[in-house]
């Protein structure tokens, strides 16, 4: 990774505006890189705050995506964000906080969920961290059940393919171990039915593990994306720790799905910087590459930032998370009445529960 233009910090903003940062053959404008870096830092700050919460008792179980910020931030920035089939649908798993942050979610909302507050807009204090649901942004509720998002994805994509004049696509994300579930195969089959191909971008974030089980001990396939070949689903493997490469891989995949209205696969190699979850201790793993450090160093080398500015960005992100934590902790817990809320949507044909669940039929 290197800068294509010689740039010294005192060239100021004019130079920054035209500067391109490169990785291999591909480049991104420095301003975009800076935006990505800042978002990655905020996503990292959220994860680190939540890990602390899991240890201090301010939250319980933690699971999340430190080590996936580079790829997931690019995904969030590239999504065609909106509501309904004209926009992209996101079927995510539990390591996608950076995607939501890049889409515009305040850190506060992630922390509200970790703190189980009634103000948690995604699950009302019900679900684990990173289990987002956001109707205005087409984010389908994240569930802990591995891989089920892959069988729902063809459904939203079908509605998008039919949507006149639309180019919305369906993006589905999961881990490498989960691809062993039949749901992954279902997604390939349902997305490639002859004459009924669907715009599904199937993403596998490959961190090499399912909890403690090493991928190489269970999977003979050289790359997950090779499984797409017999179905005519093209794909590529990308270094998910490299935001510039990730950006372009995502662009290629999205463009393909948008224009051809057919499926595409991306396998992103990512790090797992705090192990699987709080259940495995969530300790920092020093041996895996850290995308935030790497990208920071690249931007410093390119003269986009100096080290002090890098630190400042991270400190600001940590302060934002700390303030969000303070706010979230001041907010109310759910009440006993909340237990039943939103079991059912209001129905005109249900004489027992016209509005919502009210306990056993009376």
């Amino acid at each position: 990774m290197s800068a294509t233009t010689d740039h010294s910090p005192d060239n100021g903003w004019t130079a920054l505006a035209t500067l391109e940062i490169a990785s291999g053959e591909k480049t991104l404008p420095a301003s975009r890189c800076l935006q990505i870096y800042r978002l990655m830092a905020r996503a990292r700050a959220l994860e680190e705050c939540m890990i602390k919460m899991s240890k201090s008792g301010q939250g319980y179980f933690w699971i999340g995506g430190p080590g996936e910020e580079a790829f997931n931030t690019c995904l969030g920035l590239l999504v065609k964000k909106g509501c309904g089939p004209a926009y992209d649908y996101l079927h995510l798993h539990y390591r996608n906080s950076a995607t939501l942050i890049a889409m515009g979610m305040p850190l506060l909302d992630g922390i509200r969920q970790m703190a189980m507050r009634v103000t948690d807009p995604h699950s009302r204090g019900r679900n684990f961290a990173g289990h987002y649901a956001c109707h205005p942004w087409n984010v389908i509720p994240v569930t802990s059940v591995i891989e089920v998002q892959y069988v729902m994805a063809p459904g939203t994509a079908l509605m998008q393919k039919r949507h006149e004049g639309g180019n919305g696509i369906t993006i589905v994300v999961g881990g490498d171990a989960g691809t062993a579930e039949g749901d992954f195969a279902s997604c390939m089959i349902w997305s490639s039915r002859p004459g009924n191909e669907l715009p599904v971008l199937m993403i596998v974030t490959n961190n090499g593990y399912g909890i403690s089980t090493c991928a190489s001990s269970q999977h003979a396939e050289h790359a997950m994306i090779e499984r797409g070949k017999p179905f005519g689903i093209p794909g590529e493997v990308v270094d998910g720790n490299d935001p510039i490469q990730s950006w372009h891989a995502l662009l290629r995949g999205m463009d393909y799905c948008r224009q051809k209205r057919r499926p595409y696969m991306i396998e992103a190699h990512v790090s797992r910087l705090h192990g699987h979850s709080s259940s495995s201790g969530a300790l920092r793993i020093k041996t895996e590459p850290d995308c935030l450090t790497l990208f920071g160093a690249q931007l410093v080398a390119a003269g986009v930032l100096d080290e002090r500015e890098c630190e400042e960005i991270q400190n600001r992100a940590a302060a934002e998370a700390a303030a969000a934590l303070e706010k979230a902790l001041s907010e109310p817990n759910p009440t006993v009445e909340d237990i039943r809320r939103h079991v059912y949507a209001p129905s005109t044909v249900d004489v027992v529960y016209p509005d919502d669940y009210t306990g056993l039929p009376s």
Binding site: A133, V148, M152, M159, W190, A345, V349, D350
Partner: protein, 352 residues
């Protein structure tokens, strides 16, 4: 009169024509077959899916998330067991996601015994389904109720499972559907696909009218003071026959309740009837460990212990791994008319 399977087909036609149903799909649901029981012949939104029950449920969820109104079919409930975790997710997503999404999907599947279906075409599903919080589960026992419950299932914005009793799918009703032609033969000529080549066949749908059976409302098939009989699905008409025969023999009449909705069930009607009669028989054919009828009995005992004159009865399927093909197995594994009648007679006769 229409059969139940014709009634379902007409409800789906009404649904796709007037109620916004976008997709009716499943294994062999589209042309040329139109469903293994013919429930989906001639429908304009019907299509064939891969042989993948999890894929079918997931596809329905995705369509519903994106604003469509799917009716998905699991060909036999016997093949729905590998979808249970997806059904759990479908039932909990509105709640887990803080009400962000509604999931207006219908899952229909033939359930129960009575077609000499051996191990894998005789399962019941309602006890499993009753544990899926967030779902509504209905089970008609007449063509008219099948029509009315299907329309309600379609317009309800929550996941609704329509369990169709396999044994009753080809049985004709006693009441006409609104808009159904007078003559059975005419109906058949209009909406049943011909045997053989049907590539040029088009149905000529009658001018059907809406009819909604509210979800959560039972119907009283027979009225009487001697006892309360509560059932649904295949065993419901057997309960009616048993009650009729006993009335003929002894002059004693019973309340026979067709529950129609498994969840939410009509507690009010059941509760009032039990208070009136003090004697209760619940009949279904799902296996006895653990059975939805046990829940009804538990509530009756909790809330009407002192209203009961004698111990309540519950007839269910036996807790064995399956229903064997030889009719000695089937006849003695799930409740049949003689046992229902004998049990009801004993219930009425027991001194208070």
């Amino acid at each position: 009169m229409a059969t139940m399977v014709q009634a379902v087909r007409m409800a789906l036609h009404y649904g796709e024509t007037y109620l916004g149903v976008t997709d009716i799909f499943g294994e062999d649901v589209g042309p040329p077959l139109g469903g293994v029981f013919t429930a989906t012949q001639g429908l304009k939104t019907a299509w064939n899916s891969p042989l993948d029950e999890r894929g079918i449920v997931g596809m329905a969820m995705g369509i519903a998330y994106a604003g469509g109104r799917p009716v998905a079919e699991i060909q036999f409930c016997d093949y729905g067991f590998n979808t249970i975790d997806l059904l759990k997710v479908a039932g909990n997503q509105h709640w887990a996601g803080n009400g962000h999404y509604n999931l207006p999907m219908v899952l229909m599947t033939p359930s129960g015994s009575g077609i000499r279906g051996s191990l894998y075409h005789s399962h019941s599903f309602e006890s499993w389904a009753s544990r899926l919080a967030g779902w509504k589960v209905v089970m008609p026992s007449t063509p008219l109720d099948a029509y009315g419950l299907m329309l309600s299932a379609i317009v309800d914005p929550n996941p609704v499972m329509v369990l169709l009793p396999k044994a009753l799918l080809r049985v004709r009703g006693e009441q006409k559907l609104p808009g159904e032609p007078e003559d059975e033969e005419e109906l058949k000529a209009r909406i049943d696909a011909p045997v053989g080549d049907r590539s040029n066949w088009q149905p000529r749908w009658p001018d059907l009218k809406p009819y909604y059976v509210p979800i959560g409302e039972a119907t009283l098939c027979r009225a009487g003071d001697a006892a309360t009989v509560c059932s649904y699905g295949r065993t419901l008409p057997l309960c009616v026959q048993a009650a009729d025969q006993i009335r003929e023999e002894t002059g004693q009449g019973c309340d026979v309740l067709d529950l129609r909705s498994i969840f939410p069930y009509d507690w009010k009607t059941l509760s009032q009837s039990v208070q009136k009669t003090g004697r209760l028989l619940v009949v279904n054919e799902d296996t006895e460990v653990t059975n939805f009828g046990e829940h009804l009995l538990r509530r009756v005992i909790d809330e009407h212990f002192y209203d009961l004159l004698v111990k309540p009865r519950l007839l269910m399927g036996r807790h064995v791994p399956g229903i064997g093909l030889n009719q000695v197995y089937e006849q003695n594994t799930v409740p049949q008319l003689p046992l229902i009648k004998e049990t009801l007679r004993a219930l009425i006769a027991e001194p208070a």
